[in-house]
Amino acid sequence: MEVQAKTFPGGVRVTHSKDRTEHLEIRKAIDPRTVVIPLHQHTGAPCDPLVKKGDRVLVGQKIGDSKSFVSAPIHASVSGAVTAVEPRPHPALLRSVMSVVIESDGAFEVDPSVKPKGDLDSLSPEEIKQAIREAGIVGLGGAAFPTSVKVSPPKEKPIDAFLLNGAECEPYLTADHRLMLEEPDLIVFGVRALMKAIGVEKGIICVEDNKPDAIDAMSRAVADYPNLSVAAVRAKYPQGGEKQLIRAVLGREVPPPPGLPMDVGVVVNNVGTAAAVATAIRTGMPLVERVLTVTGSLVKEPANLRVRLGTSFNDLMDQCGGLTGEPVKIVAGGPMMGIAQYTTDVPAIKGTSGILVLSERDTVLEDATNCIRCGRCVRACPMFLQPLYIRMYAEASRWDLVSRYSPANCIECGSCAYECPARLPLVQWIKISKAELAAKKGGR
């Protein structure tokens, strides 16, 4: 299917370094003895615990929920006794978060509430949204935004296109790629469920052209659904960004914050999210496990693992043959947007798309030098910003001048800092500017 691959302006060419794991089948991770399940694994209000020390829980049983609309309930991924409900280190928030610690009894008894939700055609959009909300499904691309909120746009914002994000533009990570190869039908079922929930006609599955096998697999899977199609997009980072995918495939641009994709009539979901929705409807099992890639030059046998949520990084790294050297950085997620960890005693959560062990050679630890105004960060920025000025004025704390370059538009994809020959921490300064301007309420 030689359709011309679409792309978006800006962005950077990154070395994929996916070769070590892109041909490995997804393997089921060894069941953990204990799991630590944080009550805040999504964007939005954290959940309140529904269980206490000593309770016995079953697989799929809800152990945390929140009354607020923008939230997603938390479920147990193992059966066993709750040994503690206490703050534990968190891979994304870099501070301790209230978590439920469960000692597994090895039985993995399934909770009675886990029952298939029935046939897709008989389910009404409301029932599908309710199923998604109950299953605690969030965006698995990395943002972890509650899917139930995303699929219920307000009336005055009509949606005319649904994009499935199969770009996976982060180097090293291959989870989505493997998922598309091994379970295309499950994904298509999930896409149809999401589209029915939103009430949108047209669905496009977008895959980067560096994964031709995935494009073929998905094309075969959508063959008998006329309203679904597959679009090849050129492999360029950050193609996986929501706004960049919409611009590349549909040519529309989401307005600056607080603009959302729904403002241009589009909803974008990740491949993993679609699979989780399909599982929730077909088997009734809530989001208790996910596929992630454990890789990096120091990992002896990198792998794509289907992991029960709450398994600690240590266990996952051990079952991949351990490390062949002293790691400099351990990153939760991809190298471009992932978060460097200060300890390995953190659990894999809904938003963890990969565990990356980087050696001295992989990462770059040089000191920053003077900005030589080469303009590469301006050319690289997919949001058409000028990072060098944000940094220059932020360093001098001139927030009035910083707000003129609207740091709030930044999606923190890291393209600018990637390209910067002076190794300046541009993303760090933009994050500081965002916080500073938000605090001052003056920022756009």
Partner: protein, 206 residues
Amino acid sequence: MGELHRYFLIFFGALLVYNILLIRFIGLCSYFGISTSMDTSIGMSLAVIFVMLISSTISWGLWNYVLAPLGIGEFLYIPVFIFVIASFVQLEEMFIRKTAPTLYKAMGIYLPLITTNCAVLAAATEVAKPGFLKMSIAYNYTLPEAWVYTLGVALGYSVALIIFAAIRERVDFAPVPAPLKGYPMAFVTSALMSLAFTGFTGLFGL
């Protein structure tokens, strides 16, 4: 065509080749003070263009119809010009404050500053008693030439001021050596700006 060509030469000479700030060094007091921010620079430029055009017209009129015929020009031109300009600016400030408050907000506050601005007086004097620009074309200013000349000087002032404001917005954030911080660095930057303007000496034979 000769007339138009002369206008072009006079305008070009006043704007670039003999830029009033960077080549003739006139009006520097306000130049260094105002250029710390772009908005004030734009406001001041508007005010200077407005005041200079009108005060030059008045001084031209005074010289050709009052001072020169009476032959007292040589002795009284300084007090007369400065008095005219000072009182005119005072009048004009009241006028603008009443009729155009927004315009007043944009440039009004600079009007009193202009009374002590050398550039306005220099332009007014030149229009009356040519010779200060030492341009190679022979000229004794007719009214249109006076306007073209004054417009050239005023725009030259504004261009230099606005460019300098943009540069200072960058140089003020540079780690300049401690003793040079502030005004000394402004002087050195102006030196290099003047170097760029000196590239135009002798252009069009001026």
